[in-house]
């Protein structure tokens, strides 16, 4: 027994070092798997507050670009209003209702909530952004995040007033996507090379693809509504050894200066999840 104590005393520095290493590594691998780590909630609040202070300053330098992108989005939304269109029969009128159930019995599926970006990285291999809207303001894990120009990512961690969003520029991110023109479904991933481009895989060679084609979300994902812009094809990589194209996609969101985002809440997510899981269990 005495020898054990002597041993611990003699190598206390080294043992202490080992303990800290194990703590650090367990934090890392736990987070990579579940996006949860000890003190992450408290730390989120603290770093979020510091970042919000800093972003207040930086915000002014991006005002012009933010305004332009918001104006462009407004224009797009105004153009898609149902009142812009006149039905051939003038007795019929289309009305959009904002309540959950409208008189015709249609059920609301998505709710959009705006949020401001307070912290953002692009230079790492796993990039996240922090937004100033959290659990108290109705953000939950797995919700989709969209900028005025297009898709941003998915919420992975929440605290009271801040949420952490895994952007498309993350080695662990994977988004189901579709070619707008022909409808082929593929997957968007990031190879970590350049924050200017993401990769789309699993597009069969029978699909007609051309430089400049639009890529949108597929609607297979529980987090995003279908048809949200992801980006445009910058290059078609024709791999001779495979039956699939690998497409280099330029994201329509500019991750360097994203200032405002919208969080999408899928109201029917739980229902869809439940029925899918029940089907899996029954097999």
């Amino acid at each position: 027994m005495r020898n054990i104590f002597l041993f611990i005393r003699r190598y206390f520095n080294f043992l202490f070092f080992l303990v800290l290493q194990i703590v650090a590594l367990s934090f890392l691998f736990r987070y990579n798997k579940f996006h949860e780590a000890a003190f992450m909630g408290v730390a989120n609040e603290l770093t979020g507050r510091v970042s919000a202070k800093y972003s207040n300053v930086e915000y002014y330098f991006h005002l012009k670009k933010t305004n332009e992108s918001l104006a462009a989005q407004n224009e797009h939304l105004l153009n898609s209003l149902p009142s812009n269109y006149q039905a051939p029969d003038s007795s019929k009128q289309i009305i959009t209702d904002t309540t959950r159930y409208d008189t015709l019995g249609t059920i609301r599926r998505y709710v959009w909530r705006g949020a401001r970006v307070v912290n953002n990285t692009v230079s790492l291999q796993n990039n996240y952004i922090t937004i100033h809207r959290g659990e108290k303001q109705g953000v939950l894990k797995e919700m989709g995040v969209v900028s005025p120009a297009g898709l941003v990512g998915r919420v992975v961690n929440i605290s009271e007033n801040f949420s952490v969003v895994m952007t498309m520029l993350n080695r662990q991110s994977s988004v189901s996507a579709r070619l707008r023109k022909s409808g082929e479904i593929g997957k968007i991933q990031w190879d970590g090379r350049s924050p200017d481009f993401v990769t789309m895989i699993n597009i069969p060679k029978s699909a007609p693809v051309a430089k400049g084609d639009s890529i949108v979300t597929s609607g297979y994902s529980l987090s995003f509504p279908p048809g949200i812009m992801i980006g445009t094809i910058a290059e078609v990589i024709d791999d001779k050894t495979s039956n699939f194209y690998s497409l280099k996609v330029k994201p329509s969101t500019n991750f360097y200066n994203v200032e405002y985002v919208t969080v999408v809440d899928n109201l029917q997510k739980e229902e869809q999840k439940k029925v899918e899981e029940a089907a899996k269990r029954n097999q």
Partner: protein, 177 residues
């Protein structure tokens, strides 16, 4: 200024510069990530107790991790270099008793060549371990090798510039008044 206050301010400054300046820069290449923050650990005073040094390294790395949302990724290499630091200083110190006569590692206290070696070895270990942790998750061997070398080069350049910009005066302390 008291040593504790000075090092606390440095702690905050290094974190803020790394998060809000260096990580915000547009990356030149996948391999080039400008790491400068760990210079804080290299600048800690000679007489910091070894246990405290390891703990400070861990906390410092973890603080940065909570900003980048990668808990543990920077904490592990920081703990490692903080633990290895005293061994390296013992080997590289120029003359007997210099760690008593000077406050902290610098060019004046250690001499240019030993100090450069000290910085280079710890930078290499830090970046090597950091990229190794990334490599476990993804990437290839070329990624590992290229990123370690490129980041170390950029880190050395940044440290060199920092040393020139913020020249630390090290007073020679003697017992006689």
């Amino acid at each position: 200024m008291s040593k504790l206050l000075k090092n606390t301010i440095r702690f905050l400054l290094f974190i803020l510069v790394q998060v809000f300046v260096l990580f915000q820069m547009k990356p030149l290449h996948q391999f080039i990530v400008p790491y400068l923050y760990f210079l804080y650990i290299l600048w800690l005073p000679f007489n910091t107790p070894r246990l405290g040094l390891t703990l400070i390294g861990f906390l410092f790395g973890l603080t940065l991790d909570y900003f980048t949302k990668t808990p543990g990724l920077h904490a592990a290499p920081c703990t490692l270099i903080a633990y290895l630091r005293p061994f390296l200083i013992n080997i590289l110190i120029r003359q007997e008793g210099a760690e008593q006569n000077y406050g902290s590692p610098s060019i004046t206290s250690m001499g240019l060549a030993p100090y450069a070696t000290y910085v280079f070895i710890l930078t290499l270990i830090h970046n090597g371990y950091l990229v190794f942790l990334e490599w476990i998750d993804f990437g290839s061997f070329i990624y590992f090798l290229g990123k370690v070398l490129a980041s170390t080069g950029v880190s050395m350049l940044l440290i060199f510039v920092t040393e020139l910009l913020f020249f630390r005066k090290e007073k020679f302390r003697t017992n006689t008044p």
